[in-house]
Amino acid sequence: MNAPKVVVVGSGPAGTRCAETLALAGLRPIVIDENSNNGGQIYRRQPENFVRTYSQLYGSESDKAAAVHSDFDSIRDKIDYRSDTLAWAVSENTLFAAERGRSVEIPFDALVLCTGASERVMPTLGWNYAGNYSLGGAQIALKSQGCAIGSNIVFMGTGPLLYLVASQYIKAGANVAAVLDTSTVWDSLAALPKLLAMPSMLWTGLGLIKTIRAARVPIVHGVQPLEITGSGDAGVNAVTYRDKRGHAHTLECDAVALGYHLRSETQLADLAGCAFSFDRRSRQWIADIDDKSRGAANVYMAGDGARIRGADAAEVSGRLTALTLLLDLGYAVDEKEIKRLRSLHARYERFANGVTRAFPWPIEHVRNLPNDAIVCRCEAVSVGELRDASRGKQADEINRAKAFSRVGMGRCQGRFCGIAAAEIIADATQTPLAEVGRIRSQAPVRPLPIAVEQ
């Protein structure tokens, strides 16, 4: 029997641990990542000619970053690693990829999707101006390029990344005008019992707040973002928000970093035939995964691409998924190890549920967005146009509303507007959010460079 062909998409913490476990069992997995380097989002590597140390780059997580990088390096000759390779479609046991300008078809016996997460964003009036960036984008500018997104920056949204990236900017010497959080202090208190599942992580989080406060940067809880002002020519010049007492405030700035926690990158899973269910806790659609981490017959999922559980959980989930896959393929596996990893993962899960509770998606703010706010940045569709299209055409299902309004039809395929658009349609048509559905994924999952040879 030939060794089974396993393809792992993603070389972040989940993909790294998955590939490592498969390689140590004697398989030679193909590992694909569209980035030029391994490490994923959290342990993103800087270009070779940069000289910052691990502790400068990854702070409290530097030992883990170093371990993930060096363990990946040590299996390089046992895996078939293809960087700069975008997996853009899946069908019938074949993965379609664009490998450095060349189109390739990769047959597989099993596929493991470790595709990670991207930002969940709430639109705000004026978020289409130049100078608005996702929080993750702001972090990438700093981590992999040593740059700040502006010279006076407002951080607005909610979630752990809001505090993490703001504190990283402060440590790097950037000028941070304020951290504006839509969540309230009550949200954090309500989440506390679950957050205590991982005291060390809670401690790290409190450390971030300390760093921000020590720099005398104001942290405001319970805000309602009103407007990002500016001009089409010069971009952002200020942020206006309402505080919890109802007073409006304006802060001058030349850049805004926006983000409301994360969403799983699930397009490939969708194309591979995985089923999805609506998750009430996070108000998102998540892939149905069985107890073997399978989303479809031979399609496995691990890390934040399956469930938003954070980087440490992603490592555990990558290992666990590899072990259950090996078991399915008939390899002998240490079942005790599977048990141990499962119970560790359950603790991370409890903590992650606490994070979701502490930083809720601001439903009311989304539903109350003004008509003139842009909801889809790709196609410049306004909230009013979306409301009209969904009411007028009775389009209470998102793919129908998409056809009428062009929301989600643009180049990002609804990655950055789909969640907010569904909320607005649900409100405009008085439909339960779960019934509005989710935008169907289409190949290619990201636009291909035109130069890709067929």
């Binding site: 930002e119 289409n128 130049a130 702001a138 740059c147 940045r377 196609e379 950055f416 636009p447």
Partner: protein, 98 residues
């Protein structure tokens, strides 16, 4: 054209690389992405096709597609996911066709 959008905070002792935006020579640093190279000198990389003004990218991770620029020879390039190369010639002032 207005000033720089991005501020360099670290890693500034790198070799410089000269490239061209709308015919004007600009110095970037080796290891920059094309997006950073442009925004360390200018405040946008393209105009929205829908008339709502200039754009300067959003996600920096290849997902949002807001940073496409065009080379003088007409090739479309995703600026946040492309490493700067000396002598690259970029146009940011034409309306991108989809």
């Amino acid at each position: 054209m207005n000033g720089a959008r991005f501020t360099r905070l670290a890693e500034q002792d790198r070799q410089t690389v000269t490239f061209f935006v709308n015919g004007q020579a600009i110095e970037a640093l080796e290891g920059d992405t094309l997006l950073v190279a442009i925004l360390a000198a200018k405040d946008h990389v393209r105009q929205s096709e829908f008339g709502d003004g200039n754009r300067a990218g959003f996600c920096l991770m290849g997902s949002c597609q807001d940073c496409w620029v065009t080379s003088e020879s007409g090739e479309r390039i995703k600026a946040c996911s492309t490493r700067i190369v000396a002598e690259m010639r970029i146009v940011t002032e034409t309306v991108n066709l989809k």
